[in-house]
Every structure is written in structure tokens, then in C-alpha cells.
Subunit: 369 residues, 2 copies
């Protein structure tokens, strides 16, 4: 894999406004290895970089070098790579490392990796000594456009994805676009799913832009990536700023995730990438919106085409409608067993709805193969 | 064991003021089995009572009956009894129960038991689906005067007590004094330790009152218990209201806990009760305050006598000064390896200080046998 190092340049800065929990997202090139990037992180005796066995060999040394000036000790822990390890025993290796090195409650954790590393490091930071500061350093497109922003942290439970977790905000997010150069195509597509998501729920102009710039994105053009990450973070920041703990509005960010989580759980975590399940789940949710008479077929077709061209599946696995329904009743948005779907109310606007079960079954039948 | 059921009467109500996280503490008799007690708890489809194998047979049915009117389903889970079970596998049995019963994120958890049940239920509530409401129903004196109030939740890690946890506030605390009738003498004494604590750190009049009413407390006189619980909660409420997340002032509530945690960890959790370790730890911290020239010998003697008469140990186990120091460096209040002690600055006022190591060693030698 290639490993680009550009001259340090912050191309965009997006602010997450959450009162005393506000923080900046820096988007740019050459950020990771530049000491100046970390000047706003709270001072402490020790830093702990949490990464995984895939990402650590590529970027850990560079980050650790840049942190030396700010922390007397820079520790590290490497997790095994993959969604299947997003569990308690792996989380506990972070606690083991922190305690073995005598890390106090000012220690700053750095999440260097994709969504799994970010979710686990964030949850470890939320729990260690009842809360230590942490920084997100997302190295995948999915983490840069979505999971590293907004403070959702979690691990999986055998009976459900992200069931054990916390809302816990990082003190800073650093999206170094250089790290996307090393991302395998399949993971890049998975990240595109979460960027595509923002169009139908919030900003059809952004959907137009992605359609027009997909080719530049896929060849990892820095300017195109910078815009996609920035606009995604801006939309997410606006939503999270209004509803940090998902009591209402924030749920729209889960467009495609109810079907998607059922796919992931039904196949066993790690079979499909999260972004792949979300891509397919969005197509299913769009079909449901159409079946509810909210959007027209032209939008469904256009959206399905974009998801396909982005390299994502548009047909779900054939688990059977009963199994889908059973899994979706475990969704965190469900209440008293009633599944609540994020649907597109009109292009660029999403809402939450229950849906008649026969309609949901019909959509599942139509969208699985 | 006896199991008193009094006519329902709220004797005192203490408010914890934390903005949108404010909540009431109800102190009284016959509260647990009275439906009116639970009218302010948020409505939801399901409640989950978490208790342990000792407390559940005494009070679970009574509580479950009173909750029937408010919740369509009242589930329950029983944990094994004891500090040694304050760990991840036991915590996970709560998650297993919640998921197996399809509990959604409006489900209200009820912690029915002592400090361990309260800490674990609170932490489970903090983490389940990233946060569900919970109610503290403390059935031990220690939990009523201290641990159920203020939102500290946690489990232990093999390398340290309460290392994994969260600040997470309950929506209500209900101290039913009737439950104290069934409390074994050793546990009652352990609870007295945390009540005695409030005197030297905040209110010498309360210390006088405890000295004068110890006999009434020990025979579980309801009026005496009501006052002791109320005054303890008032002092704790004032401290926590100023410093919810222990960035400063709140640390004074840990008077005796730095030495105490070392005793607990050094002997292995569960050998001494937490309150016993704190009782002895307070004597050691008082000796340290004297060695630092902050308080006179008369106060040390008076305080040591009260701790002894309350049925608590005043001599620590002989672990050796090196081992004490090693364990105390893992304390959450330590920073960059420097142990910080809560000391009595003057009668009724506490502060945080580092202390010269030779002085600390001297105190350990003097106070262990």
C-alpha cells in the first residue's frame, strides 16, 4: 500500500457546537505527523494511541513522533482488525494497557483507525476512571464522514450491534486525507455509503455533487475528498448540535441503518462491511418511502443507481422476511417492539415512521436475492 | 431476618440540583411497596429490577408489586452477592437479561440492594443502548448515606477498584428505612463509616450528633436513621451539586478512601467490607492530617474512638508500606504517579494534598498491625 505524506495543510475546519463539549474537526493533508495539529489537545503526562494491526504499521509511528513534544510518555495498544472484535474482551485490552502503564485520569486516548477503533477507543475513554479525554484520528472514509463525529461510542453484544456504549464527545477530530490513499477499494465504497446518505436526508445539492464527482472521489482526488468530508461533517455537525443524545432529529442519520443492522446481524458481523449493509439498507428504506407514497420511482431508481455505481450492494441477503423483522425489533430505535424506520419524507428531508408490516415484508421480498 | 412493613411515610425529601439532571431523594418508611412512591419515574413499557440473591428474597416481590401499575412488564435479574462479583461478567448478565427480553431504550432500571448492586445497575443503565433511566433503591445504610447519591457508577478491574465506570445520575433515589432492619450488624457498621465521614470534612455538628446518637442508630431507631440519612444526603448533595464530575471539591468525599482502597485491593476485594476499609482509612488519613500539623491529637483520638465504637477497624492490615504506596499510586486521584490525599485542613474542612513519602510511611507503620 502507498503511504502519502503531504505538506501539512488544514483545508477546512468544521466546528461541532455542543456548549462546553464543543470541538473542532480539522480536515486536510499531512496533518497526522505534524506537531502543530495537536497543539489544542489538553496537556497531560501520557498519551495512549489505540490502533489496529492493519493501520498501526502505516501511521502509528508518524503520529507517535508528532505527539512526543506534547506528552512525556506516548503509549500504544494494537487491537485485532475487524468488526468481529468490537467486543468486551478486546475493549478490555485497552483497559489492561492503561492500568498496566499506570495511566491517570488526565491521559489522552487517540483513536487511530476506522469506525471500529474509533467506537471502541471512545467507549474506553468514556469508561476509564469514569472518563478521560480522547481524540479521533479517523483513517477510513467512513470514519471521516460519519462515525468519528458526534460522540457515539459502543461495542457489540452477541444479541445486537452497538448495544453497549455511551454518548461521549472527543476533544478534537483530525481527518488526514492522506490516509485515504491506503484504503482498499471495498472499504472506500463502504465509506461512500455514509456520504451518499446525507443527500436524501438533508441536502439534495450534495447528492448532485457526489453524482458529478464520483470518478474524482474514487481516484482519491484530494480536493474532491476534502469537499466530501467537509460537507458530510457540516451536515452531521448541524444535526448533532441540535440533538446530541438522539432524542429526536438525530435519528435521521440512521437512514438505511435499520435494514442495514439486520443484514449485519443476520449474516454475522464482519461478513458485509457496515457501509455495504448501510448502502443496501438505504435502497430498502428508499423503496419503503416509495411504498408509503412519499417519494416517486424516479428518485428510487436514481438513488439505487448511485449506490450501485459507488460499488455497493443494492440487494440484501435472503434471510427471509421473518428473520429481518425479528432482527429489526431489536433495533435501538424500536419502542415496545414497534419498529420505527427512517424514511425520506421528500427529497432532502427525512423523518421517523412506523410502517404496516405487510408493506415492510413486500419491500424485503423485493430487495433481497 | 425481620422484614418490617410500616405505613408509607416520606419523612424527608432532599433535592440534588444538577440542572436537567436534578432528582429527588425520598427518605421514609414503607416506601418500597407503595405505588405512590414511583409516580415521578418516567413512564415506559418495561421496568427491570436488578437485585442480588440476598436482597431479592426480602424485598423484590414488594417492589415489583408496587411497579405493576406503572409498567406493563416488570422484569428482574438477580446478581450473585458481593464485591468480588462487581466485574464485567456479572454486569453482562444485566445486558443479557435486557436484550433477551427485548427491552427498549425507555426501559427503567431499578437498583434494589446495596452499593455493589447500585454501582453495577447504574453503570449498566449508563451503557445499555447508550443510556436508559435508572432509579436507586438502596437497602443498606452505606448505599443510603453515600453510594446511591451522586451518580458515580462503576465495576472493578483486576488492577483497580471502580476503574471502569461512568458519571450517570439516577432519576430518583428512594431510601426506605424499613430495609435497614434486616441489615447484619457488620454491614450496618460499614455504613456508619460513610456517615461519620461527613463530620470532619464538612459539619462537626453532625459528628457531635452521631456521637450522641450512636446507640439509637445501632438499635435502628427510625427517627435517628432518618436524620442520619437526611443529613448525609444533604451534605453529599451540596458537594455534588458544585462538582458533579469530581474536577475539584467532590474529591473530599473520598476522605479515607485512598488508604481504604489500598486495604481492599491489598487483601483482595471482599475480605474487608468497603465501609470497614474506609473506617480504617479515615483513621489513617486523620493521622496523616495530624502528622502534617493540620489537626491536633485530641481530634485524632476522639475520631479514632468513634470509629472503634461504631464497630469498625482502626488498624490496617500489615501489607507493608511499599505495597500500600504501590496500590495508592493507582488511585484515580493520583496524577502522574503522585498520590494525592484528602486531609482534614481544620475540623469540618477537607482539602487535597500530596504528602512527603517518609511521613506517609510513618503513618502506615503506626496504623497497621
Amino acid at each position: 500500500m502507498s503511504s502519502v505524506v503531504s505538506d501539512p495543510a488544514v483545508l477546512h475546519e468544521v466546528a461541532i457546537e455542543l456548549g462546553e463539549r464543543s470541538y473542532p474537526i480539522l480536515i486536510g493533508q499531512g496533518l497526522l505527523g505534524n506537531a502543530a495539529t495537536w497543539q489544542r489537545v489538553p496537556a497531560a503526562a501520557a498519551a495512549m494511541i489505540v490502533s489496529n494491526t492493519t493501520v498501526a504499521p502505516l501511521y502509528l509511528e508518524r503520529l507517535a513522533g508528532a505527539l512526543q513534544g506534547r506528552f512525556r510518555q506516548v503509549h500504544q495498544v494494537e487491537l485485532p482488525d475487524g468488526e468481529v472484535y468490537k467486543d468486551w474482551p478486546t475493549l478490555n485490552t485497552i483497559f489492561d494497557a492503561l492500568l498496566a502503564r499506570g495511566c491517570d485520569r488526565k491521559t489522552v486516548l487517540f483513536a487511530l483507525g476506522g469506525g471500529v477503533v474509533g467506537d471502541m477507543t471512545g467507549f474506553a475513554a468514556a469508561c476509564y476512571m469514569r472518563g478521560v479525554p480522547f481524540v479521533q484520528v479517523p483513517t477510513t472514509l467512513l470514519a471521516q464522514v460519519d462515525s468519528s463525529v458526534g460522540g457515539k461510542t459502543a461495542i457489540n453484544h452477541p444479541l445486537g450491534k452497538n448495544m453497549i456504549g455511551a454518548f461521549y464527545q472527543p476533544v478534537q477530530v483530525v481527518c488526514d486525507l492522506d490516509t485515504l490513499a491506503s484504503l482498499p477499494a471495498r472499504e472506500f465504497s463502504a465509506g461512500l455509503a455514509e456520504a451518499i446518505k446525507y443527500g436524501p436526508i438533508a441536502d439534495m445539492d450534495f447528492l448532485d455533487w457526489i453524482e458529478g464527482n464520483l470518478e474524482a472521489l474514487v481516484r482519491r482526488d484530494a480536493a474532491a475528498l476534502a469537499h466530501a468530508v467537509r460537507r458530510s461533517c457540516e451536515i452531521k455537525a448541524a444535526v448533532v448540535g441540535h440533538d446530541e443524545r438522539e432524542s429526536g432529529l438525530r435519528a435521521i442519520l440512521n437512514f438505511g441503518h435499520t435494514f442495514g443492522h439486520a443484514i449485519e446481524a443476520g449474516l454475522g458481523y464482519g461478513q458485509w462491511l457496515h457501509g455495504e449493509a448501510v448502502g443496501c439498507g438505504m435502497v430498502m428504506a428508499m423503496q419503503l418511502s416509495s411504498a408509503l407514497g412519499l417519494v416517486d420511482d424516479a428518485l428510487v431508481d436514481r438513488f439505487t443507481r448511485l449506490v450501485r455505481v459507488a460499488g455497493l450492494p443494492v440487494q440484501g441477503p435472503r434471510l427471509g422476511a421473518d428473520r429481518y423483522l425479528e432482527l429489526m425489533r431489536l433495533d435501538k430505535k424500536a419502542e415496545a417492539g414497534d419498529i420505527r424506520f427512517v424514511v425520506i419524507e421528500s427529497p432532502g428531508r427525512a423523518g421517523m415512521r412506523a410502517a404496516p408490516e405487510p408493506l415492510v415484508r413486500e419491500v424485503i421480498e423485493r430487495c433481497t436475492a
